[in-house]
Symmetry: C2
Subunit: 323 residues, 2 copies
């Protein structure tokens, strides 16, 4: 059953359940262990990307049947999960959504190939009905930007000279492009004109940026809520925006801690305190609110229907988590 | 400059050099280390897949200019290299073509993302001129079969009940599909009719099967020639066809050795001796020759031109390595 965040929107929840069923029907791997692993991975998530795609497919002139939307909705979740699986192998993360990660349970080999297999499924799904869908495919290749975002992340890791600009560029690839793609595909598939497509693309992008920054902010709350150790990223040299704002500000206490060869628990909590007390966390909240506000302004210019109401409510709920 | 195996075919060698240049012009990663790593990876290889693609594009009615062929030729090498990089991470192989592997030099993180990035480049390249190329894209998705081959390989690893059938299915995905794709794309892009396309597909497939089996056979020659430790695969539980034929024959000496928990150098050479002395290596040669003979028979039915002569010569040279 669809994740509980959609319980106020039963119609959408039902479509997301169909998307999950569709994904599971597509997974055809002889190796039972691998196929059940992919089924696990694509069950019970928030399904944000297919949800946004389905919602944004309500703004063009053409009303598509759910059967026509399922392959694209499924493809976006599959691409997302594929990148998560590879990320977890790379970071050697033990947990994801409070559960053991795939490579911990099934080994690195299976995890890497499963991710590769899902990349292929993604392309297979977006290539369906190709003749009518060349625009979709062109946009789908923004997957490249997503991977380039991951590669750019390495320029930030363990780099105390990281800048806000570098950070924003990195999360742009890592998160915002996929949200943007989901919204763009929705607009295209519903026969939207170029103005509508561009607006949906921008809204999706802003929501994605806000989503990632808010995720970074929530890392400063209790770990129990989000199911991973606090500041694990920090120890791996992955600096989130609150830290980067402090580094860019040449906060000498913060620079001293993060320049250490290896951080212990104490360094970790000291760095977090600096970020909170010296106002960098609040500055980050301001930036997140700028993105959501921009998204909300643009949303007001979309056709006024139920999907617009749902997206607006979801964006407001997102930003309320940090107020 | 193109690999020396093409020195007898300077025209083809020149086209392969252009393909390499084209690949390098496509690699646009901000991280200089990664981009030079991908450039390294796509330099100096045998370029068999682009070579077959270019050769097979000579059999249809339409003569394409090299500029039109480059994106597809490049895409095939990029896909091949992407799978190699991930394979090396998975097997934790220290060497490839006598050089340190990517993950050894640049770390697992870079290697996994570089592979992912190359998968995306592959799709980007095959999606060029999309309107006229929907058949190409459909076939390009046989990449899925390649990954399924890798996943199937896990069913064989450390499994003394592996069968010839399982092995052939696995290498079919791992190697033959990509050779087949190269030949198929050549036939399609040159405007070949369905009969020609099907014939090229079958020839590519048989060449790929022969290529992989002959590679397994050459593992029994000196290691110096091929740049990797002999029988490294065996210790990792990856059984090649000569061993599988022995296992299927219930060769009790061989089963006893391969059932051990950990193989030492001595087990390794004993197993190899059994495979040679009890005739399994020769049986494997017979199978390899069946595939090449079938390919040669079908080649005779293609238009009789210079490309047919080159492919025929290459196939004969390949099979001569085991005679």
């Amino acid at each position: 059953m669809a994740n509980s965040i959609w319980k106020s929107y039963p119609q959408l929840g039902k479509k997301l359940d169909l998307t999950t069923e569709y994904i599971h029907s597509m997974v055809q791997v002889n190796n039972l262990e691998i196929s059940s692993m992919i089924v696990d991975l694509t069950s019970g998530g928030k399904m944000l990307r297919p949800a946004f795609f389905l919602l944004f497919s309500d703004f063009g002139e053409e009303k598509k049947k759910i059967e026509e939307l399922l392959p694209l909705a499924a493809s976006l979740e599959i691409l997302h999960v594929a990148t998560l699986v590879h990320d977890d192998v790379i970071d050697d993360s033990p947990l994801r959504r409070s559960q053991p990660t795939i490579h911990t349970k099934y080994g690195r080999r299976n995890a890497i190939y499963a991710g590769d297999y899902m990349f292929t499924l993604y392309f297979e799904l977006i290539s369906k009905n190709l003749e009518s869908n060349t625009d979709i495919l062109r946009n789908a290749l923004s997957m490249k930007k997503i991977l380039l975002g991951e590669l750019d992340q390495m320029l930030i890791n363990f780099n105390v000279n990281s800048t806000k600009e570098m950070y924003l560029k990195e999360i742009s690839g890592k998160t915002a492009e996929l949200f943007s793609l989901s919204a763009t595909m929705g607009a295209i598939v519903s026969g939207g004109n170029q103005e509508l497509i561009d607006r949906c693309k921008a809204i999706g992008y802003d929501i994605g940026m806000a989503f990632q920054i808010i995720d970074d902010i929530l890392d400063f709350s209790s770990s129990a809520q989000i199911g991973k150790p606090v500041h694990e990223d920090l120890k791996n040299g992955v600096y989130s925006l609150p830290y980067i704002l402090g580094l860019e500000d040449n906060n000498s206490k913060l620079v001293a801690i993060l320049s250490k060869d290896k951080l212990n628990e104490d360094d970790d909590s000291q760095a977090a305190n600096i970020v909170i007390e010296d106002g960098y966390l609040n500055q980050t909240k301001v930036i997140a609110r700028q993105y959501t506000q921009h998204a909300l302004n643009e949303l007001d210019r979309l056709p006024n229907n139920m999907s617009r109401k749902v997206i607006t409510a979801v964006v407001k709920k997102l930003v309320n988590r940090i107020s």
